[in-house]
């Protein structure tokens, strides 16, 4: 399927300018492929919408997410003035979901981005250097890898205390080892190929070889893996908040909202499920996007 897209795109390009003399870069190719993948585009647009809404929360005409009202507690969806109802303290759910998206998205994206930089970098170094350096880096990673990710996040957050910053740090630490491992495996594979040897034979230094030949081939699998981790990160962050280790109340956060609303599940189950639905849609979208990216980035070796 992807192949037909490519040949179609090439044919079109050739028709518009017959003597195409332009070198199409790898990322242009990926973009071309994505353009024809409707499913991925759809979920990508959902993510863009979620991010935009979360970013625009301060200027949207919303109620104050912290304003409580004892007479309006646990109103159902569509109650007058509260489109998505209210929570156990009478706060507007729509406003809290949108504001809560800010912290949940931050907790989803930032730890993964940091882990991608640190873990990916360490993995490429370990894979490229090999030998003792590889062993030292990877054995340290193995120690962290030995714990289930939620347990490790809970342990680190618990040790450092609650709060958003500590939550971010613990999540980053949790995601470094798997990303490092993926980067190391990909690098080790690429490093043994003849074109790396050929680059060495043409006199290139390690930095140039990594930059031109290794990164381009390693980035795709690592990036795809990382994009899949965003949804895991959102879930773990929600779990941390749920346990009281992440964001502190009354700040809106999907995980925290789920935690505080669960006592009301028999009074108004649909409202209680709303933060869960938000988490579901967001993580599902990131998963689908990651799937689509994997297909788009899969250039034949």
């Amino acid at each position: 399927m992807t192949d037909t897209n490519i040949s179609f795109a090439t044919a079109k390009g050739a028709a518009s300018e017959p003597q195409q003399d332009r070198v199409r870069s790898y990322w242009q190719l990926v973009r071309l492929r994505l353009r024809y993948d409707k499913v991925t585009l759809f979920f990508g647009m959902i993510i863009v919408a979620i991010v935009l809404i979360a970013l625009l929360a301060p200027i949207l005409p919303l109620r104050d997410p912290l304003e409580t009202s004892m007479i309006n507690r646990l109103k159902p969806i569509g109650h007058e003035g509260f489109i998505l109802g209210t929570d156990e303290l009478g706060r507007d759910m729509l406003s809290r979901i949108i504001w809560g998206g800010r912290s949940s998205l931050l907790m989803g994206l930032l730890p993964v981005a940091l882990a991608l930089l640190i873990g990916g970098g360490l993995g490429v170094i370990a894979g490229f250097m090999g030998g003792t350096v590889n062993m030292m880096i990877m054995r340290v990673m193995d120690v962290f890898y030995a714990f289930p990710s939620i347990l490790l996040a809970v342990a680190i957050s618990g040790a450092m205390g609650g709060g958003m910053l500590n939550g971010l740090i613990s999540l980053t630490v949790v995601f470094i080892p798997p990303l490092c491992r993926v980067a190391e495996t990909a690098t080790t594979q690429v490093r043994g190929l003849d074109f790396v040897e050929a680059a060495r034979a043409s006199g290139a230094g390690s930095a140039s070889i990594i930059g031109t030949h290794i990164l381009g081939n390693v980035l795709a699998p690592v990036f795809v893996y990382a994009s899949g981790m965003v949804s895991v990160s959102i879930l773990v962050a929600s779990g941390l908040s749920f346990l009281g280790l992440g964001v502190a109340p009354p700040t809106p956060d999907w995980g925290l909202m789920l935690s505080t609303l669960r006592q009301a599940i028999y009074v108004n189950p649909i409202v209680c499920a709303l933060p869960g639905i938000a988490i579901l849609i967001t993580s599902l979208s990131f998963n689908m996007l990651s799937d689509g990216l994997r297909q788009a980035m899969d250039v034949k070796m």
Binding site: Q19, Q20, D21, R22, V23, R24, S25, Y26, L193, D194, F195, E197, A198, A199, R200, A201, S202, G203, A204, G205, S208, T212, H213, G216, N217, V299, K300, M301
Partner: protein, 386 residues
């Protein structure tokens, strides 16, 4: 350039016209008498690790005590069975592997030692074409970028490097406007190998090491690439070390041939000498193992039986003795010395039968090549017809 030149529809250029560059190379230092590349007592052992402490338990003697010279402007063919150390030798020559011991001298300069020729300079002067055309091109880089990478590493500006890449793509018979932007997976095997050759030539080397450069290609494409290599050699004033297991190809392209067995040089001489008057029993067996074009000329027994011995534990004395029809006790006790190299035309061999004082029963009176069983070599189709 003549604008009306018609290109074949497949984008391949017709064979370029030959214009020979003057043999006077400004980079030449030692003159024609100085060999371009001298290899002295080259040894490479790979440690075999094992046990709890990951200690070295054995050594694979991939290349042992190999010495030869590559003369300026020649093509030196290197033949031998799979696993005899040909590819290791190629990587050692390119200094992609650290040698265990030995010496490499490039046009008078020592390579890979402190105070010798700078590695950067050597990497410009010597280039390699790899065997596997699939893995030797970066799948993420368009062909043009792959070719221009080397010159850029050596400080050429991006635009000039791209110009150069296009020029060289043209020289190897690929239209740069069609093939330049393509990715390796959009090329055929032969086209990829042309790109590999272009990449090696982009640094304008003097020595090109071709490690099984045509082995993976179809016969027809192989012939095209071989002819291209001959053209490029004249055009760029190159010296080749051509490593292959294919005896016909080596005979076609080489001026001199070196025969390797289990990491050692067993015979070295001008191509016609080696192919018409082979001396070493191994070379003879190797040559007789070629299939005949004559359907009545069937081969009943393989001229050499079995596999080469394990290089971790090579046989004592002469390494070929386990498969040699003339083996005697002396062959097990003493490794034969290779005979004295006297000049470009000399034909040297490492066999006790050719040294009158070595104590082999046939010493100084070796069996004639024709006396060996099987048919005559002369009638064999040895030339590759392009």
């Amino acid at each position: 350039m003549n604008k009306t030149v018609k290109h074949p529809p497949n984008g391949l250029l017709s064979p370029p016209e030959i214009d020979v560059v003057s043999n006077k190379d400004p980079r030449d230092r030692g003159g024609p008498a100085q060999p371009l590349f001298i290899v002295k007592n080259l040894v490479k052992n790979f440690p075999v690790r094992g046990g709890i402490l990951n200690r070295t338990t054995a050594q694979v003697q991939a290349v042992s005590n190999v010495s030869f010279q590559v003369l300026k402007g020649e093509t030196l063919g290197v033949v031998g069975e799979s696993g005899c150390g040909k590819s290791t030798l190629a990587r050692l020559l390119m200094h992609l592997l650290d040698r265990t011991s030995g010496e490499l001298i490039f046009d008078g300069d020592s390579v890979g030692v402190h105070g010798g020729m700078p590695m950067r300079k050597f990497r410009e002067a010597a280039q390699m074409v790899f065997q596997d055309s699939y893995s030797s091109l970066n799948p993420r880089l368009p062909v043009e970028d792959s070719v221009s990478y080397g010159p850029k590493v050596h400080g050429m500006a991006g635009k000039a490097a791209r110009e150069l890449a296009r020029d060289i793509l043209k020289k190897v018979g690929l239209r740069p406007e069609i093939f330049g932007p393509r990715y390796p997976h959009e090329l055929s095997g032969g086209q990829k190998q042309r790109v590999n050759i272009a990449r090696a030539l982009a640094l304008s080397p003097r020595l090109v090491i071709l490690d099984e450069a045509v082995s993976a290609l179809d016969k027809s494409v192989e012939a095209q690439v071989l002819n291209l290599l001959r053209f490029l050699k004249r055009h760029y004033n190159l010296t080749y070390v051509f490593i292959s297991h294919d005896l016909n190809v080596v005979q076609y392209i080489s001026d001199r041939v070196l025969v390797m067995y289990l990491g050692e040089v067993v015979e070295l001489g001008p191509v016609d000498e080696i192919y018409n008057r082979p001396r070493h029993p191994y070379t003879r067996a190797l040559l007789r193992s070629r299939l005949s074009m004559d359907p009545d000329d069937r081969m009943d027994d393989a001229p050499i039986a079995g596999d080469p011995p394990n290089p971790i534990n090579p046989p004592s004395g002469c390494r070929f003795r386990t498969r040699c029809p003339y083996a005697e006790p002396i062959c097990a006790s003493t490794p034969p010395a290779i005979s004295q190299w006297t000049g470009p035309e000399s034909h040297t061999v490492a066999c006790h039968m050719y040294n009158p004082v070595d104590g082999h029963s046939l010493s100084g009176n070796p069996p004639a090549h024709d006396a060996m069983p099987d048919t005559d070599i002369q009638s064999r189709p040895t030339r590759v017809h392009a």
